[in-house]
Structure formats: C-alpha cells, structure tokens
Point group: C2
Chain length 250, copies 2
Amino acid sequence: MRHLKLTVAYDGTEYCGWQIQNNGVSIQQKLEEGWTRFTSEKIRITASGRTDAGVHALAQVCSLKTENQLPPERILRALNTYTPYDIAVTRVQEAPNGFHAIRDAVEKTYCYHLQYGRIQDPLRLRTCWFLPGDLHVTAMAEAAVLLTGKQDFASFQSAGSDVNSTVRTIFRLHVESQVDNGFPTVQITVSANGFLYNMVRNIVGCLVEVGKERQQPEWVRWLIEQKNRSLGGQTAPANGLFLDHVIYDE
Amino acid sequence: MRHLKLTVAYDGTEYCGWQIQNNGVSIQQKLEEGWTRFTSEKIRITASGRTDAGVHALAQVCSLKTENQLPPERILRALNTYTPYDIAVTRVQEAPNGFHAIRDAVEKTYCYHLQYGRIQDPLRLRTCWFLPGDLHVTAMAEAAVLLTGKQDFASFQSAGSDVNSTVRTIFRLHVESQVDNGFPTVQITVSANGFLYNMVRNIVGCLVEVGKERQQPEWVRWLIEQKNRSLGGQTAPANGLFLDHVIYDE
C-alpha cells in the first residue's frame, strides 16, 4: 500500500467543516470525491485536525493510503481539476509507510485574525472577527505569555469532546497588531503539540476579555487553575481562524 | 446647501457596480437608500468614478448635497448602520461649496492583483485574477514604464464610452511581485489624472501579454501608436481591480 501526504489550502466559508457530515458539504467529502473521480478508487483522507464549519486552512496536512501509482505531480494536477476552486491541493508527497496525519503531527500552528475600531473592513468579512471599539493589544500580549508552556487547558475546551487528558503544551503564542487598509487588526498565532476542541477560539475569546479591559492579564492564570470552561470568555467565531501549518517528525 | 465628502470601501463581488441600474443592486443605490432611511431625504450620491460590476474599492470618494445638519460623526455611524456589511463608509467630511467628486479629482489610483503559478489561491478567489503558468514580471515592469506620461490611450479604451479626448497622463505605473501564503502574486498600481472606460483592466491585459512572453515590452509603445483597442490584450477580469484612493486639490 502506498502512503501519501497532501497539503491543502481552503476557504472554509461554504463548508460544514473538514469532516464528512450528513447536514452539509465538507472539505473531506470534496477531496475524497475528487480522488474517486480520477482514480475510481474509494479511499479515506485523514486530516491533521478536523477544522470546524467556516474555519480556513493555509496548509492543512492529510494522509491517505492508495493502490494508485501515478506520480505525485500528476495526482496534484488531477485532484485540483476535480475539486472546487475554494479547495486547493498545494502539494502531494510520498509518505513513510504507515504515515498518519493526526497521530504523527508534533506541532500545529493556528492563526486568528481580529479587526477592531469603529468600522468593519468590508473586504475581510469572511476572514476576520470584527470587534467594535478599542482593544488593548499590549494587555492581550501580556496575557498570552501566561498561557504558554505545558498546562491543563480544561478551561479552554468546549463541551462535545472526549479526551483522556486536557494537558497540552503551547510552544508559542504571539499577539501582533498592524493596520491594514486603514483598519486596525490583531493577529494571534499559536503553536502547540495539540489542541483541545475549540481551544484556539476559546483562547482568543479570553484574550479579547483582557483586550476589552474587562479582565486583567493575570486573570488567565486564575482561569487555567479553575479548569472550568464556563468561567472564560466567549468562543471566538470561526471565520477568523486559519490552520496555518503542521509539523511532522520526518 | 451643505456639501459633504464621503470615503467608502466596498467588496464589489455582489454588486452590479457603482451606478444605479435596472438589472442589479448597485453600491450607489445602497448608499442612497441608507441615507434616505435615516434622514427621510432623497439625495444623489456621486462617486469619483463608476466602478464596474465586481470591482472593489478601498477608498472611493463621493460627493453629496444635503439639507441635513447632523455632525459628520453621527452621519458616519448612521450610514454604516443602514448599509450592508460589504459597504463601509470610512469617513464623512464637510466639503467646500460646490464640491464634486468627479470634476474636482486631480489624481486617481487603482491597484490590480494577479496571482500566477500552478495552483489558484482558494482564499483570494474574489480579489485576484489567477493566471495558470509562469509570468515574466521584470518584462511587465519594463513595459509599464513605456505607458507612463501624457499619451493617447485610445488603444486601451473599451467600446461603450463617449469622451472628447482619449489623452490621459499616467503619473506612476508600478509592477511589484511578492509571495503570499506560498502563492506568487503581482500587484500593478497605476495613478493618473483620469482613466478611460476599462483602461486599467486593458493595461493589465496588455502587461499580461508581455508577462506571458507573447509580446516584447516594446510592443506596448507600438500599441499606443495604433490607437486601436482591437490590437491589445484581453480585458482583465473585474475581481482583481481595486480603486485605491483619489486625490483632490483642496
């Protein structure tokens, strides 16, 4: 059996998320159907993480097993021919025997885009969370530092997941501000060895509590200790979230 | 009568263009309707240029005459409440008596976004023209230089307009390349004292002929001399075009 590694970019706006579901069209479905259309082979494509409805990806990584023997270049071209424009396979590589996109990932990086101020940027409706009013970005950056390291992130896990441990290690969590087309924006970039359900969007929601000065930066330290999701900020909307890239031990 | 100057940003994807038309929803219509909804006053809003269907704006400038006496700040907030999210009024200013957004403009700048290579960026479908294959960006920049200055741009005017003179002055025309999220892109920025119908999109189409090495850079000099639109490249699609900003003598 041949193992392949796909790198995929997508605009998640029109999809019910990565995973195949009964109530909507998913990225996984479009990729698997595309594969079947040019190979006549039914396969399963596994992604490093199941992005939710509306979440985007710059370099999602997927694994698959196939009997097909076409060179990677040909597969890349064929798959892009048979998938919609808002999903793009950017790379196809031979993978080591048994390669698994979830199990073998050692680091994942997400990026979240916020825009604030008086007026919402009409050109970034699909890709930014708009927060009316001011945002104290320096305080958000201070709070971000307190979230790094190996910690129990139970307070940042939304209901609906069932994992053995809620301990994860955040390697880096950066908060940067800039002005795009006159609109003030904030980029939150977070790298970890793994993420709990909605963890990035819940971290962003908590950092916004601090940015809005409803909480002090030190509040997130207290929040971690409580191990109680109901005490945190809101879950940030999906449209501002991008799976940036995934690192594997190779 | 009070004169106002509005600065407006919009995503043109869902609109039939700036100007009110029978066969679609226009930006002008949405702004005029928004104005009427909070003032009960019917007015005409004039833009510096009538952008076509699908064309975007970062800082379109509009003029209007009104009996309303609300402060600019209040008007800004009210107008944004009564217009859709893909249209944003970013500034409202008092304007000199008789201010007219078309007549008084001294310089307009457009920006065109191209993306090339093997794979189309799924996150820029609305805002980029995708050209499969390679693009010789240096040759495009050489050709761009030949288009600057005061010249007769008849070869770059699409049918359907009726102007006295086809002479315009291009102050600057820059071609820059960069890589965004791994996708190679080109930005073409052009400033002039005025533009003929479809002039920017026809210039971009001609620069792409050069970039595709179907023509030498010197070809554009010959093209200008012919004063014949049918000899040029294709008209670049609307979705890559942005009205960047407009300068007034004040």
